[in-house]
């Protein structure tokens, strides 16, 4: 059977499963549409949260980024998991107790202000729409490589499948599809990792393999990797980072941003009780950790595998010649994600760090005229089974897994967007007397429109797609998280303080990002070149990257909110009682729409 047929069977049967769930889990009420009826088992919700959270970026890109950056990129591992500690202790249980349908609804009620609710809706929509673009482009990559269809055709197919379960089933359909998608994606991610870990270290558990001995050389895997990359002019894989301030702030921004992403928070509205929300956050992190503990192992092993493929003899002066390149290089060259340029015309593949000044002399002596093989970070996970010569069904599995990761996150984001429109804007403001039936219809229409827009954005991704994910985290960290936390932990922060704080956090973060990446990401409009020397505190060697600014934006939000609140009137008594009531689990009851 051809590889194409195998991929088609894996992707086709996973899609058929999602459609079957769509037909089974139809939503009959707004409560089912927004919070899956509020009766989801906490372990199931943990699994759905894991799929909701782990996006195309986690599944496809993260290991590639770590492989290229080594220790310095550990921020992603700590940041994208540490946020769950904040979520479990600072937000999820109290928002579950509040017992309503959306994140802006809490902000609007707690700060007794429609304007606060609008600001929250705006933050939610900007963060979620930018995030959804990345999911759709990720799905496009998977389609074009594995199913040999134009990525546009693939995106339309994906759009139709999501349409079926998200429009029919709302949160109920999404929850049970996410559970299925989690199973698909975690199997797809771990099976190749287990094989590769066995091949390289003899340990079948990748997280342990990472710290085991490399079978071939007998030395520790990470030590071997350091030696190999050093010989090619790259920084050591395990090398420390001198600018620790930026690493701390970047990690903190990812943690706060994770806890503040509305599509993750609303998953905790679906469990029956406050105590379930706490357990569920723990289960979510267990399921996430299965991938996040495996990813750094995949990263280091794939980097080593790639380099030993190019330099099979171990001698850097003796690479393979291009005519005898392995099949997987040929496959990926067709997607443009691997490119080869024979700069010195010797027919051999020289892969090394041509940016290193100290290495230039060595390279020139050898007759090298620059790095000749460019490998996109995104292919590392997708090409892993081919690099390790795994059976063709594993490749089919990876295709289905990559699509599951992208679609599960896209669906969660689309629900957050559509419920903000139908519940916060239409029911909350434009037409408060809308009937239950019409609100459900409005929710379905908003969902359908959101899917069409997302599919279109996936087909025509803005040139700044990579930067916007930073924006999504920055906004969630600087505006949404502080507002929610103050709403629960302070009785003194009032409407004016919260609005001023959210706007200050949002604007400072956006301006800082735009200064370096261009106003609204329009090329050529950046005020400063995006290099460490130009960043804030850059002259001292402690530059704060635009990606790390979310944590600063959050601090600005807290300070402004407390300062403005302290000079204006305290919240009215019934609001202080509302704060009291979210703090104590007793009397939580079920989620209600009003």
């Amino acid at each position: 059977m051809s590889q194409f047929a195998i991929n088609l069977i894996f992707v086709g049967s996973s899609f058929a499963l999602y459609i079957a769930i769509a037909i089974w889990a139809r939503a009959g009420s707004t409560k089912e549409f927004y919070v899956a009826g509020g009766g989801v088992n906490p372990v199931m919700n943990g699994m759905a949260t894991a799929a909701d959270w782990m996006s195309a970026a986690s599944f496809i890109s993260m290991a590639g980024i770590i492989a290229a950056g080594g220790y310095a990129t550990s921020s992603y591992l700590m940041g994208w998991t540490g946020g769950y500690v904040l979520l479990a202790m600072l937000l999820a249980p109290y928002l579950r107790k509040f017992g309503k349908f959306t994140v802006p609804e809490f902000i609007g009620d707690r700060f007794y202000s429609k304007n606060a609710r609008f600001v929250a809706v705006a933050c939610l929509i900007i963060a979620s729409v930018t995030y959804v673009i990345g999911q759709m482009t990720g799905a496009g990559v998977a389609f074009s490589r594995f199913l040999e269809v134009e990525s546009d055709t693939g995106l339309i197919i994906a759009g139709i499948v999501v349409f079926l379960y998200a429009v029919l089933g709302g949160m109920k359909g999404i929850t049970y599809t996410q559970v299925a998608q989690y199973v698909v994606l975690i199997i797809a991610y771990t099976i190749p990792a287990v094989f590769i870990s066995l091949q390289l270290t003899g340990n079948f558990l990748p997280p342990l393999g990472l710290f085991s001995n490399h079978l071939e050389s007998g030395m520790p895997l990470l030590h071997k990797l350091d030696l190999v990359v050093r010989e090619l002019g790259f920084a050591d894989y395990t090398a420390d980072v001198p600018n620790k301030l930026n690493m701390v702030l970047f990690t903190l921004s990812l943690m706060i941003g994770t806890a503040g992403l509305p599509h993750v928070i609303i998953r905790f509205f679906t469990v029956p009780k406050v105590s379930d929300a706490r357990w569920s956050a723990g289960w979510a992190l267990v399921f996430i950790a299965l991938l996040y503990l495996t990813a750094p192992a995949v990263a280091s092993m794939a980097r080593l595998n790639l380099l030993t493929t190019i330099y099979p003899s171990g001698e850097v002066t003796n690479p393979i010649d291009y005519a005898h390149r392995p099949d997987w290089v040929k496959n990926w060259e067709q997607t443009g994600l691997i490119t080869f340029e024979d700069k010195n015309g010797d027919g051999l593949i020289q892969l090394y760090n041509d940016q290193s000044e100290s290495y230039k002399q060595v390279a020139t002596e050898r007759g090298w005229k620059g790095n000749e093989l460019t490998v996109n970070n995104d292919i590392l996970v997708l090409a892993n089974p081919e690099i390790a010569n795994l059976p063709s069904w594993v490749i089919g599995l990876i295709a289905a897994g990559g699509l599951a990761a992208a679609l599960s996150t896209a669906a969660g984001l689309l629900l957050a967007i559509s419920s903000a429109i139908s519940h916060d804007l239409i029911k909350g403001s434009i037409n408060p007397n809308i009937s239950e039936k019409n609100e459900l219809r409005a929710a379905r229409i908003s969902m359908a429109v959101a899917i069409v827009v997302a599919t279109w954005l996936g087909m025509n991704p803005p040139g700044f797609a990579a930067q916007v994910v930073a924006l999504a985290f920055g906004i969630a960290a600087a505006s949404i998280f502080p507002a929610l936390m103050m709403g629960i932990f302070s009785k003194r922060v009032n409407n004016k303080g919260a609005i001023a704080g959210m706007l200050a956090g949002l604007l400072s973060t956006m301006v800082y990002i735009f200064l370096y990446l261009g106003w609204f990401f329009i090329p050529g409009t950046a005020a400063f070149a995006n290099t460490p020397e130009n960043w804030l505190l850059g002259s001292m060697g402690y530059g704060i990257s635009p990606l790390s600014f979310g944590a600063i934006g959050a601090m600005i939000n807290f300070i402004v909110a407390f300062a403005v609140s302290s000079v204006t009137a305290a919240p009215p008594k019934h609001i202080q009682e509302l704060v009291e009531s979210v703090r104590y689990p007793k009397g939580a009851g079920v989620a209600t729409g009003h």
Binding site: G82, F211, D240, L252, P585
Partner: protein
């Protein structure tokens, strides 16, 4: 302050103490062990590298899981002790 309010206030400060304690550990393993203290942990070797690298890529994640489950277990118990649990 009546009996009911005193009980509620005691519950809330117990929760805050638990959160602060947990977040100190949360920060120590990630920002401490994984980033800031790494230069001082280089002598503790773990599989070809140092303890700081292990904290950054594995140890902090494992600690986070333990922290959340401990918090959930402890709080769900406190809910009952203070009579503030859901029926």
């Amino acid at each position: 302050m009546n009996e009911h309010d005193r009980n509620a206030a005691a519950y809330w400060s117990a929760n805050l103490r638990l959160i602060i304690g947990s977040l100190i550990i949360w920060a120590l393993v990630s920002y401490g062990g994984g980033i800031l203290f790494r230069p001082w942990l280089t002598d503790i070797r773990v599989g070809g590298t140092d303890l700081g690298f292990w904290f950054a890529q594995q140890g902090s994640i494992l600690t986070f899981i333990v922290l959340i489950f401990f918090y959930a277990w402890r709080m769900n118990k406190l809910d009952k002790e203070f009579g503030l649990n859901e029926e």
